[in-house]
């Protein structure tokens, strides 16, 4: 572990250790990426290429699974639902959560701290404890299978998450920023929206993207609160994977899986630098 430090002297003394580490790192990376590679590869196979011994890497690629499955099933509709719900929940949570995070980071009132601690503690609440009453209430109010219900349900875990990340982010900013603005006659609100939000945009954006991703892949609430009209992609995948009657349709599973994962991976890689920083700060300074 001592080689963690990147002293020039040490490196010169033990170059082999460094190469071993690099090789180990690359191997680990390949191992972790392989299942995704295999999923994408399988999605371009004909059924006869999927069920082979040995499993084949070389075949004539086809997009037949995509075209046939996308036409028959309601995948495009579910995709749209997932986009609506994930973006809606992400936007509401980033607005409410970042303001609350700011309050926790900067404004010192006693009750506020307690409230903040409670909300952060709520990260420990198992979603199933919320899913049961939400289902009952939604049913009685006629709110099942509606986008807004799912959006509100996702706020239960996204708002605390955003608060927790953004509190750390705002704490790291120098306080003089708002102080000088407020001396110039800005209200606290004005200072927040005109000074703090613009300079925090990278942090806000990466937190927003990560929130959207968390909502994008959520399964439990989607299973419980929707059935047809507002149902999302993860529900479809759970259905395909768990089809014990016909056996899992691997072509469909991998094709829909690829479509689900692809946009998320692109977004995550776009903001990867901020994402890593946000994660690290959130875990250590939270």
């Amino acid at each position: 572990m001592s080689a963690t430090l990147t002293l020039a002297g040490r490196r010169r003394k033990r170059p082999i250790g460094r190469y071993v580490r690099i090789a180990g790192g690359i191997t680990a990376c390949i191992m972790f990426l392989f299942p995704i590679f295999w999923m994408v590869l399988t999605s371009f196979k004909m059924p006869r290429d999927i069920f082979t011994t040995p499993p084949t890497f070389f075949f004539t690629p086809t997009i037949e699974t995509y075209t046939s499955y996308l036409q028959h099933a309601d995948i495009p509709n579910r995709m749209l639902n997932t986009v609506i719900v994930a973006c809606g929940a992400g936007l509401i949570s980033i607005a409410a959560g970042s303001m609350a995070g700011y309050a926790l980071a900067r404004i010192k009132v006693k009750g506020l701290a307690t409230m903040g601690a409670l909300i952060l503690l709520s990260r420990g609440v198992p979603p199933i404890a919320l899913a049961v009453p939400m289902f009952l209430v939604a049913r009685n109010l006629g709110l099942t299978d509606k986008h807004i219900t799912l959006i509100l349900a996702y706020c239960t875990f996204l708002i605390p998450y955003v608060m927790w990340l953004m509190r750390g982010f705002f704490k790291a900013l120098p306080e003089e920023l708002e102080e000088s603005a407020m001396l110039d006659g800005c209200s606290r609100f004005g200072a927040f929206f005109r000074i703090i939000v613009p300079i925090s945009l990278p942090g806000l954006l990466s937190t927003l993207i990560f929130s959207v991703i968390l909502a994008w892949e959520e399964l439990l609430f989607a299973l419980v609160l929707t059935n047809r009209y507002a149902s999302t992609i993860p529900v479809a995948i759970a259905g395909i994977a768990g089809d014990s009657v016909n056996g899992a349709n691997w072509g469909a599973l991998t094709a829909v899986g690829t479509l689900t994962v692809l946009p998320v991976v692109v977004f995550a890689l776009l903001v990867q630098k901020w994402l890593i920083k946000g994660l690290a700060d959130g875990a250590t300074k939270g």
Partner: protein, 308 residues
């Protein structure tokens, strides 16, 4: 705000608005989040507790009669509930330490300085954003006893065949493997940042004093990392106790009840068997256990931070 008050001359305009407005604005920042969570988080929890002490009418889906602790007694006598708690416990005990060790270990590897370091680190984000239900499904495919490529490859070196999903003991290992695949990158990314932020001068001093790598690791690296390891553990714990999707997609709790983690079990009792009242009682029990353990872990984290 006090800063404003101290700087009297320049702050006249602000003071004109009065303290009341100031107090209002303080709470205004918290209000949207607090109100939303009151409606969608606090109220449902309260409602769960209420249902757990009541009988639920399946015609109207409302709580009718107050039955005291009856639901809890039914649940406590249910073997399957205890089985699920045990299964969840085994999963947590296996998966969490494995992910922590692997996560920090891989972070150590990929932090070696070379041109491709940034790329490798970025690539490690990818498994982390794969939907758990996709992860469960794809792994189920790769571990298929007949056509899966894992068994084929292991057969090449004379291992197996393993019935990854059909054997009760192996099925739990399978769940742990999938979960570890999905979550180790998360630990790795936090750990890479943590390792990079270690102060170098301490290590230089140790090296000059002739400390070997084990002493350096045991008495410098580890103590410096303890707060971050503890914090990462708590975050991972909060995620792991909610595990549901992977088990649903990969094994659906089976074979038998071997991988029926508590969230999956409550889900099935509530939404397949329509036993809402008992499910609410189970959810409350799980909620209490989770809260107590989280509080214990948070306290432990503080203590560890104080020690080092």
């Amino acid at each position: 705000m006090t800063v404003v008050d101290q700087m009297a001359p320049g702050a006249r305009r602000i003071r004109g608005r009065g303290r009341a407005a100031d107090v209002v604005s303080r709470w205004a920042f918290m209000a949207p989040a607090a109100l939303l969570l009151l409606a969608v988080l606090a109220y449902p929890i309260f409602y769960t507790i209420q249902i757990s002490f009541a009988e639920l009418d399946l015609g109207t889906f409302t709580a009718t009669e107050w039955v005291g602790w009856d639901n809890y007694l039914t649940v406590i006598e249910d073997e399957r509930f205890w089985n699920s708690l045990e299964v969840t416990g085994i999963y947590l005990v296996l998966a969490l330490p494995l992910q922590m060790v692997l996560g920090f270990g891989i972070a150590f590897l990929i932090n070696a300085e070379w041109k491709g370091r940034g790329l490798i680190r970025a690539l490690f984000i990818i498994p982390m954003v794969v939907a758990p239900v996709v992860a469960g499904g794809v792994w189920r495919m790769m571990l298929d006893p007949l056509w899966g490529l894992v068994n084929y490859w292991m057969g090449l070196v004379g291992l197996g065949p393993f019935d990854w999903l059909g054997d009760p003991k192996l099925a739990m290992i399978t769940i742990v493997i999938i979960d570890t695949w999905r979550w180790t990158p998360f630990v790795t990314l936090i750990a890479t940042a943590a390792l990079l932020s270690l102060p170098r001068d301490v290590f230089e001093a140790a090296e000059i004093d002739g400390a070997n790598w084990w002493t350096t690791f045991w008495s410098i690296t580890l103590p410096l990392l303890v707060p971050i390891i503890a914090a990462t553990f708590v975050v991972r714990w909060l995620g792991a106790v909610k595990m549901f999707d992977i088990a649903l997609a990969a094994t659906n709790g089976g074979p038998g009840r071997a991988t029926s983690v508590i969230n999956l079990f409550i889900y099935e009792e509530a939404f397949r068997s329509l036993k809402f009242a008992e499910s609410a009682a189970m959810a409350v029990i799980v909620l209490v256990i989770t809260m107590v353990l989280t509080a214990v872990f948070l306290r432990g984290t503080r203590k560890l931070e104080g020690m080092y």
